[in-house]
Symmetry: C2
Subunit: 628 residues, 2 copies
Amino acid sequence: MEANRKEITFDKVNITGGFWKEKQDLFREKTIGAVYDRFEETGRFEALKCSWKEGMPFKPHIFWESDVTKWIEGAAYFLQKERDSSLEEKIDELVERMANYQDENGYLNVYFTVVEPEARFTRRTDHELYCAGHLIEGAIAYANATGKTKLLDIAEKYVDLIDRVFREEHSAAFDTPGHEEIELALFKLYEYTGKEKYRKLAEYFIDKRGCSSRDATYDFADQEHMQSHQPVRMQKTAEGHSVRALYLYSAMADQARITGEEQLKESCKTLFENITKKRMYITGGIGSTHRGESFTFDYDLPEYTAYSETCASIALALFCRRMWLLDVDGKYADCAERAIYNTALAGISLSGDKFFYENPLAADPERNAFNESRAEGLREHLPILQRVKVFDCSCCPPNILRLTGSIGDFMYSASEDTIYAHCYMEADAKIPLGEKEITLSQKTGYPYEGDIRLATDTEGDYTIAMRIPSWSGQADIVINGAPAEYELRKGYAYLKRHWKTGDEIRLSLSMQVKLWQANPKVITSCGKAAVTRGPLVYCVEGIDQQTDCICDIRISRRSAFEVQREKLDEENTLVTLKTKGFVREKSQELYVDEPLEQTEIQVKLIPYFAWANRGVSSMKVWLLEKES
Amino acid sequence: MEANRKEITFDKVNITGGFWKEKQDLFREKTIGAVYDRFEETGRFEALKCSWKEGMPFKPHIFWESDVTKWIEGAAYFLQKERDSSLEEKIDELVERMANYQDENGYLNVYFTVVEPEARFTRRTDHELYCAGHLIEGAIAYANATGKTKLLDIAEKYVDLIDRVFREEHSAAFDTPGHEEIELALFKLYEYTGKEKYRKLAEYFIDKRGCSSRDATYDFADQEHMQSHQPVRMQKTAEGHSVRALYLYSAMADQARITGEEQLKESCKTLFENITKKRMYITGGIGSTHRGESFTFDYDLPEYTAYSETCASIALALFCRRMWLLDVDGKYADCAERAIYNTALAGISLSGDKFFYENPLAADPERNAFNESRAEGLREHLPILQRVKVFDCSCCPPNILRLTGSIGDFMYSASEDTIYAHCYMEADAKIPLGEKEITLSQKTGYPYEGDIRLATDTEGDYTIAMRIPSWSGQADIVINGAPAEYELRKGYAYLKRHWKTGDEIRLSLSMQVKLWQANPKVITSCGKAAVTRGPLVYCVEGIDQQTDCICDIRISRRSAFEVQREKLDEENTLVTLKTKGFVREKSQELYVDEPLEQTEIQVKLIPYFAWANRGVSSMKVWLLEKES
């Protein structure tokens, strides 16, 4: 049995430039404050004063606390790198409010304090444990960043209550969380504090899942919705609410790593395969339908109505990162990058203050406009086509904040003698390896450019395993200017040698534009191709095209693609693609028995994550592929 | 201004053989009884005893009477050709029940007699006038077929009340019907009885529509749903509930013909153009969504979720037939045939006793199975994939019965000196033309064969205008073995001569298989083609194919099509098409960056109307078109 790798968290990594530096600067300057302001305006912070009474506005919601603590967690990741007293004051004030309404016995939830205090721990569907999970994660992050442990004390006190109620007394009306999250948070708390009881509670929740007759679900849903249709080790396909599912699978991967349990590890691998081979959009989006925000069935990946929630892709990335600790295979990082660079980043505007919850793979403004024109009772659910500042259920904005703040988590892991470089970013790192600490410096224009230079400042015998993304073909690796010898195994090039200070690896990934076909069983993608370059999926937006029928655009894999760094608008520069395409001529007829003539046009593609930043426009990822 | 043509109704026509003789025999032997039995079982006939009390089963429904009178109408069309005392006994018994509960003042509706008598004429949405319309049509049909006028007396007595309440007293809570139908029925009653008041009431309802502040709609819907968003003459696009819309437009066409009003005629032409150039499936289906059973927006023609109600296509055919009386243009009969031969006929099983309400252009059994496996609150509305014996809202079964019984209505019309042959069927006819009566005999294997032989037994100077369908290309017409001289105008070949007894026209239509493209604005059909032969749209069913990925089948317009009359199953023979197709090879991967190899397969197509007669199978009308 192969030993697991240890995670190298973002606190060991400093993003120094490139793509993610720009994002982190934007998030620090704009997103943290924008999310805070929206939460302030919508009463989420005011609620923590616990002064709401019937008849007052801003009635607290059962999951509002999770919005608050996710924002704290996200903000803390930025504070970890750069303290900010004014930001800390805000957080300290929120922590103070929480301390004030925490029950003597440790209980903490505004809704169940001011609205329905008698209903605590009676309804599995009511997100109490989900909120507790995010409280834990926020508390750890803030303690880690600032050394301030007040929130952590609050969290631990609450977890102690939960432990007693659920694991000892069984005095709640249900056994396992309706919305998973606390499980992975408890493992994190266990690893942060070293206290066994947290690990045991996490394992209890995971092992008990699907085995309790007391675990109800919503009236409108089935047990699959909450992944409690079977014991977790029997689950072979990703089912139900996709965010819940991926938080569960992430915790299962934690448990497999911590306990070394092979069966659970195999379950995680099986679920990963089901997702990535049958139930995932090429953008790394998961959850094909808004009905239950859920997975559907194999190969069901509709374009226009893709739910593909921002949070679900973030959760998928979290799962992938855990999987590569269990199993060295480049497919996990490939998948994490798909999810991060495409769906998760599409979840936020380039301006850093507006958000998508759903991330469809095609947009038809005419359908949305018609839908909005109808009486309410005749409308269908459609993804919105412009990002908004806040949602009623506003989980995604703070989630993208915490992902970006901790993006360095995705760079490295380490075994006894090997450093694994998973996702490439421009950053310095100090990585514990056995007794040593290895100092690395990475320079790269990734994801737009395929050159990665990784220099070490630490002499010694160790291995650096560089991930070769599956889309890149043959890897070209040079060390100090000379072709490197390496062993290629499952998507990693193992460079084993006696490293000297200043040694530099130069990895050149082919950034060739690729056209992808979907499996013939994906009925909406037959006859079509999606375009990628590096880890980025590209799309066409109507605003850029020489036709208003973007669904009729045909592209060819034999045509050249012009790759160009250019301005998208006043603020944003990115890499666009241009190629030759064909569209049929306009017709007054609805049906014609002679094929319409095709005209050549120039087709411009932009990264999928950048769509919908220039007003409402049609959009499409899957384009007709011209075979001839 | 061109004079309008007179309709030649089916009572002037006897179907003697071929496609429609088979259908009529089947309907006479099976469908009339099957619909009767289902209505009997579901309490629709029992309800007419008006003995229902709170707590009893089979609570009468507001539109049950329309099911009964539509069944009577359909049955009467068969009685017109062949009296049947046992069938008449059943009808007489129903008429007796209706006579018994008809109010002194003429009012007739079971629901508003036994359930909510106080609510008569208070809710526009409650189908009272719709039921009255079908009562009128059933009564005329039964009187015409049998000479028995009791039902007609009932209908006229009720209409007199309606006339007083709506046109004189305005004592109802609304002004115009929520579900149109009575308008065209009133014109029919006017033409049958010659009584002006019925015409005036019909015109009142049509002219008042969209002009009344008292005309409410459903809470869940908008005024478009009932075509009362504007005065009818201002309506340029087909909106709302598609059956209601087409019944209204049919009545508008009646009014334009009867009154000679040009503006109304132009409105009808505008609406016809909007439907057929922008809002109609290639199968003649209309109404793209189940939400409000309604039209949506231009070029919105999704395949899998097409609502395309059977009744809507029947109503479209009724509208077309009225339009060709107003305007000589082959496009109306082209459209009527599309609707009849494809969607309307798909509405009934080949066995004659099971029905579709919705007629999608593609079927994905996996989606339906998944959907049915979910908790009810997570399900989406999907068309069913197997016909059923009866619906809760069972308008379609008796509607297809009355269409088939009166299919001869679609054969001819006549002006002073010209007989127009619109839709071809094997039938004898006696057509009043000026002072004369022209005896015609038509022999044809239509819609499977393109040869039509039309013989006259009446000597004289007159014109026979033979429709040349738009799909047939150049017409080949021979009279008594010699090439005929004719003038071709707007889809009709005018054969003017001194006809002698025994003269025979032989029209040969090209039955070449055609591949049609949809307008590039139809986003779901880009890159695809639909196959037709003659008036029939073809489809592939999974059960017949050498692949289980029918969405991946590519066909080419350069490939030959083998046309073959063959058995579909033990009972049914029809004309199938076979051609070369290509599908990609199977893959274990979800996404591949090298195109999957394509394999040649034989693709078998069957007429769309015959789908879903051999168990649940995937189905598709629009297939990928291979350009190379």
